[in-house]
Symmetry: C2
Subunit: 234 residues, 2 copies
DNA sequence: ATTACTAGCTTCCGAGTAC
DNA sequence: TGTACTCGGAAGCTAGTAA
């Protein structure tokens, strides 16, 4: 009984066989069709089957001109193991992303928009509070954080604030992500904002909270802060 | 944004990165260590990272001499898809294995053993009945079924009959698998036996039932029968 | 219609090494 | 220490084709 590891290239082939029900019963398969399904040539499929057979991952029995194929227990276990390790790695994903940056004096712009009634009412309803008028602006200190910042909006937000129109102009949506400032002990219910139409680039993080973060956490402009954004789902 | 498919060889690399937590945050990784973990050389790991980066599956930021690496949403999705298709193929496994063969006249041997008290009492307790004295012997008609027969004992049996000793000699265990004869309408509670010490080869199937299968199903020697063995778990 | 051999091309990998 | 280049060999694939 050969003991060699299964080859990566063979995975798709076994998966295809299993999908055809070739686990406990023999199933007739042609190499042409198999090749098509795995995106390879007929010859490649033929080679796969040969190698899988000599390695003990499948069994074949000649049926006329074709073959009937069955995945052995060994082959099945191999795919199970691989599947398990994929799942494990997917589920080991951390549920938070951490940023570091320096507090800078906000231009007051973000604060102005967030205080509009169209936003304020939604904040109250969806976050449970009206933000302190004055967002905390954090300038990220490393390219690394800016890259992470860029993909932040891809994640499921903890609250989604709809855009609206006041008759004169329209205002974009806002995604809110629950966040902790520094060790999280001084500020409750902070949230990082991702705006549909932002006036900043990826190097900036805007944080809101029911109270003034600077006062409550004793932070002043130029101080370095950690912002830990919690991601609800993967 | 490149649209090429992910390469099979890169899967292990991404999985390793994910296991290191490189989903939402950047993680420092050296190519030497990465190579070791995926069973490849440092150079191979380096190439993987380069290719994964240009394909948009990961992001890297130089941190001194090393790199900090993060798996992008694109890379994550790719592994998710693969994982999903693996799972799907594993779960699509049929729950029964079907045999075809001809009924032959039993030599009475199997029937004799099964009627021993050491077996009979266990059958009553674990199957709920005492088998009709006389097992149905089915000679499999195709290599295909014999191969499947060989691995039958690997599966979880619906009942396990312990071996025993009568002071003179010892008797081996018996694994029972719930089975249906032909369309299953005439025979209830049939079971296929896998014996620790069988006197047949893989071309024979021994079936028991509370009543005489031949009489109840109107089968005579030489008739072709289908035996469908139900597998409780995968 | 099948499977699978051969030849040739491409890709992948490891060793050596530059930086 | 690091990364990643070049180069030679191994492995994988395709096309053509035999059986």
């Amino acid at each position: 009984m050969p003991t060699e590891e299964i080859k990566l290239q063979h995975i798709l082939t076994i998966v295809e066989l299993l999908s055809k029900g070739a686990r406990n019963n023999f199933v007739e398969v042609t190499t042409t069709e198999l090749g098509k399904r795995i995106g390879r040539s007929q010859q490649a499929a033929s080679k796969h089957l040969l190698e899988l057979e000599t390695s003990g991952y499948i069994e074949r029995v000649k049926r006329g001109q074709k073959f009937a194929v069955r995945v052995t227990g060994r082959g099945f276990t191999e795919i199970q193991n691989l599947s398990a390790s994929l799942r494990a790695s997917l589920e080991s994903s951390p549920t938070a992303v951490v940023f570091e940056g320096n507090v800078i004096s906000g231009m007051g712009e973000g604060a102005y928009y967030m205080s509009l009634e169209g936003y304020r009412l939604q904040f109250r309803e969806k976050l449970g509070y009206e933000p302190y008028p004055g967002t905390l602006n954090v300038r990220l200190v490393d390219q690394l954080y800016m890259n992470a910042r860029r993909e932040l909006g891809m994640h499921q937000p903890s609250a989604f604030i709809d855009g609206f129109s006041d008759g004169t102009r329209t205002y974009g949506w806002v995604k809110c992500y629950r966040a902790k400032i520094n060790d999280g002990s001084l500020i409750e219910s902070a949230a990082v904002l991702v705006l549909e139409r932002t006036h900043y680039d990826d190097s900036m993080l805007e944080v809101i909270s029911p109270v003034s973060i600077k006062l409550a956490a004793g932070i002043k402009n130029g101080d370095k802060v950690k912002v830990r954004v919690e991601l609800p789902s993967a």
